[in-house]
Symmetry: C2
Subunit: 93 residues, 2 copies
């Protein structure tokens, strides 16, 4: 799987504009009502990560969860990361 260009990433994330390119990764912070709701989201994202064997970095700060996605083998952002971002967008807390 080869890394995407900045223009490709931008095109693929047009439907998910809250994601930003940060270095060699894409990242978004989700906000929830409280910690319990944030943890439900984290566990749904974690289950998906195991299913697809692609694991975002996950930062939990009470009601906020930041997912950071990169494909280390490819040295940047690939379709795997974009697919995960779209999946996360579809999660309901």
């Amino acid at each position: 799987m080869s890394r995407l260009s900045p223009a490709e990433i931008e095109g693929l994330l047009r439907a998910a504009p809250e994601w930003a390119v940060v270095g060699d990764a894409i990242s978004r912070t989700f906000q929830f009502r409280d910690f319990a709701e944030a943890m439900r989201f984290v566990n749904q994202a974690a289950a998906h990560a195991e299913r697809v064997q692609h694991h975002p970095d996950i930062l939990i700060r009470w009601n906020r969860v930041t997912l950071t996605l990169s494909t280390h083998d490819a040295g940047g952002v690939t379709h795997k990361d974009v697919d995960f971002a779209h999946f996360a967008e579809g999660l309901k807390p």
Copy 2:
């Protein structure tokens, strides 16, 4: 609850030497066999956080989990943070 001095923190964490003072917080990175084991630890820590109503920042990077603890109301590290650190030390993956 008032913030502890660096000497007090050091004394209280003598039995948990892998914790470090980082700015106004204490922090430790735990390493596990894999992501699934890391997530079990995170969920145990999260359940405790809800019980004691004190929530660490939690960073998950595949098999590594970093807990960062600070008491925002006190502007630094208090007994609440040290207590949480000791609880986390006692968790089995």
